[in-house]
């Protein structure tokens, strides 16, 4: 899908794009959950249902040449940065035509053409890499920026601290995006942090930090847009904390013992998609019918992607050894 840059509420076109992106992410993840539930998907998967506003709002503030690093909960980032749904599903099904040729799966999914440097199975693993991408941009005067998506859990990894410091001392064009979904697997932010807002962590490194409603795609966009401006002006990194919530378990085998059904229900009321629908209806950007039509479009795109991906050839073990090293002359 063609990447659109701009404020989600700037026009009907933008509103439609934002809603469609969020809907595509949710429908894709529902499809993935169904496929996994039927035993058609290998391995495990981490769903970001309920968190769709963050990738959507952030990527609407980026150009296609800007780079991102993603996380194990990375389907949304991949979609929002412009990946093809069919090739994503093909990857999850272990097909040859999947984005990684079946070698990566859900945790390493990436469309490198859209500036995605990869989802990452290591908590915090992508943060120093984003700093390096920003360093390259600065040294090569590319004018692009890098965004590192990570969760609340990653903020207690050494990688976050080392990367944040390097980004600050070198004034790198990078945005550190913490999607605080309240739980690192089962550890709540209350258990894992002694501060109220994770954005306070920026202070110690000389990085401005902001806490934003992560379920409001417009607020996410605005915060990111400001950070992009700062980065491009050579003023260095920004730390953004988007407060959100994961509706589903950490992975499929999560029994939700560490949180209550009431808490989950409370957050479901703050559904970023429903919230955005209210806003665009109020502002007269989209009608009820247009909203329904966007969801129908997302649904049919996902169904078509799954059906098409199922036809792909399974990845061939005979090619495995060729994939470890890049050929010296290629």
């Amino acid at each position: 899908m063609e990447l659109l840059t701009g404020h989600p509420l700037e026009s009907s076109v933008n509103a439609r794009y934002a809603l469609l992106t969020m809907s595509r992410i949710r429908k894709l993840e529902e499809a993935v959950e169904d496929l996994f539930g039927r035993g058609m998907m290998h391995g495990t998967m981490h769903l970001s249902i309920g968190q769709e506003a963050s990738p959507t709002g952030v990527c609407m503030a980026l150009d296609i040449t800007d780079q991102i690093t993603s996380t194990h909960r990375g389907h949304g980032h991949c979609v929002a940065k412009g990946a093809d749904l069919m090739r994503m599903v093909a990857e999850l099904l272990g097909k040859e035509n999947g984005y990684c040729g079946g070698r990566g799966g859900s945790m390493h999914i990436a469309d490198v053409e859209t500036g995605n440097l990869g989802a990452n199975g290591i908590v915090g693993g992508g943060i120093p890499i984003a700093i390096g991408a920003a360093l390259a941009s600065k040294m090569m005067k590319k004018g692009t920026i890098a965004v590192s998506f990570f969760g609340d859990g990653a903020m207690n990894e050494g990688a976050f601290h080392e990367a944040a410091n390097l980004a600050a001392i070198w004034k790198l064009p990078v945005i550190l995006v913490c999607e605080n979904n309240k739980y690192g697997m089962s550890s709540s932010t209350e258990l894992a942090f002694a501060i109220d807002h994770l954005s306070e962590r920026g202070l110690g490194y000389g990085i401005p930090g902001y806490t934003v409603d992560g379920n409001d795609v417009a607020a996410v966009y605005e915060a990111t847009e400001a950070a992009v401006k700062r980065a491009k002006a050579g003023e260095g990194p920004t730390l953004l904390e988007f407060v959100t919530y994961r509706w589903k378990g950490h992975s499929r085998s999560d029994k939700n013992l560490y949180r209550t059904k009431e808490e989950i229900d409370e957050w479901k009321k703050k559904d970023p998609i429903l919230f955005f629908e209210h806003v665009v209806r109020d502002k007269g950007l989209l009608t009820e019918d247009e909203i329904a039509e966007v969801h129908a479009q997302a649904t049919s795109q996902v169904i078509a992607a799954v059906n098409e991906a199922m036809k792909g050839k399974p990845a061939d073990p005979a090619t495995l050894l060729d994939a470890v090293f890049k050929k010296v002359d290629s």
Partner: protein
């Protein structure tokens, strides 16, 4: 309002789950349900889980039986939902054959460890000493080791009468003659050992034809290997009566030092052209007096293929440890059929079984 039919299935909840027990169903047909309401409870060996409704709707039908164990993907109940729920039923799961089988945690009977008798006289020799001894036909048991731990060294083998001129010194005609003599002696000694074994030789004519020696040998070797594979009771090493886990076929061929019998392991599993190439390469190596060390043992049968000579037939003789031996003669000048002879060790295979083996072979050829 409820317009989409959706089957709620037994979900896969962990990387290894293949089935789950339906513990209980919390709704009845006709109940209105909200997204997130618990519909039923599932248990696996690892985890108990509540399964929620994916959308608002009405329970249309209950399919699963409480208390039963259901495969992943099997429908438990049918909902009519207000919004379309993502659902893909392709029947054939994409992954199962790849997923690792999980060994069920049942009681395992640990067999008493088998006492393996130590071979009476283990000969310790360095790899190169073995290779040289084998190619010269030297019995390692006859050599006094001088190496540490009583190991036969390369030098010990080279010191033997037949071997003292070998290796780095250029090979004169007399060295080749000496090796031939040693080889002849070795073969004769070996056949001497099997002469007293009760055996029978059967023959039949076969009308199969082959283009070249290699093609013919390859066809014969792989067909015979397949027959042996299907008749595992003759795939026995008579040395210790052990049944081999592979099929080893010795193919008698010419070498610089007389006849050699390289062993082809599982030749029937090697694609036709590969086997031809394998045999051809081995012939080249053998003609230079070098049979690869891994092809020196492991046969339970041998083949003497003289179909490309003028000799009509040869009675095959059992080699030590072999249970069967086969020979194929040249096609008859006028009616074109070849004589195939099969010799069997009667202690492991009676005459009727031998006839059946021969029939199977000729049918297959």
């Amino acid at each position: 309002m409820s317009k989409f039919e959706y089957a709620v299935i037994m979900p896969k909840m962990s990387m290894t789950m293949e089935e789950g027990e339906l513990l209980g169903i919390r709704v009845n047909v006709g109940d209105a349900v909200k997204s997130g309401d618990i519909l039923f409870d599932v248990a696996t060996d690892k985890i108990d889980m509540e399964v929620e409704s994916p959308a608002d709707g009405v329970v249309k039908e209950i399919v699963g039986q409480v208390g039963s164990t259901m495969l992943v993907g099997a429908p438990v109940l049918i909902l009519l939902t207000d919004t379309q729920v993502m659902s893909f039923d392709f029947n054939t799961p994409a992954i199962p054959e790849v997923a690792e089988a999980v060994t069920p945690p049942v009681a395992v009977v640990v067999p008493e460890p088998e006492v393996i008798p130590v071979a009476e006289k283990t000969v310790m020799a360095m790899p190169k000493a073995r290779v040289v001894a084998e190619s010269l036909g030297i019995n390692l048991q006859s050599i006094d080791p001088t190496g540490p731990f009583g190991t036969i060294t390369f030098e010990d083998v080279s010191r033997e009468d037949v071997g003292k001129l070998v290796e780095s010194t250029p090979q004169t005609a007399s060295v080749v003659e000496m090796r031939k003599a040693a080889n002849r002696k070795k073969v004769a000694e070996a056949l001497e050992l099997t002469r007293g074994i009760p055996q029978i030789t059967l023959s039949r004519f076969s009308s199969h034809t082959t283009a070249s020696l290699e093609q013919g040998s390859a066809h014969l070797v792989s067909t015979w290997a397949r027959i042996i594979r299907n008749n595992a009771h003759v795939n026995i090493s008579t040395h210790d009566e052990s049944t081999h886990s592979f099929i080893g076929v010795g193919l008698i061929m010419e070498s610089k030092y007389g006849l050699a019998i390289p062993v082809f392991k599982d030749p029937d599993l090697s694609p036709g052209l590969n086997l031809q190439e394998w045999i051809q390469n081995t012939r080249v190596q053998a003609s230079d007096g070098k049979v690869p060390v891994q092809m020196l043992s492991g046969a339970t049968t041998s083949i003497f293929d003289i179909s490309h000579t003028k000799i009509a037939s040869a009675i095959p003789m059992l080699l030590p440890t072999h249970t069967t031996a086969l020979s194929v003669g040249a096609p008859h000048a006028s009616f074109g059929e070849s004589e195939i002879n099969l010799t069997v060790d009667l202690r492991y295979c009676d005459a009727l079984e031998a006839a059946s083996l021969l029939d199977q072979l000729i049918d297959a050829l």
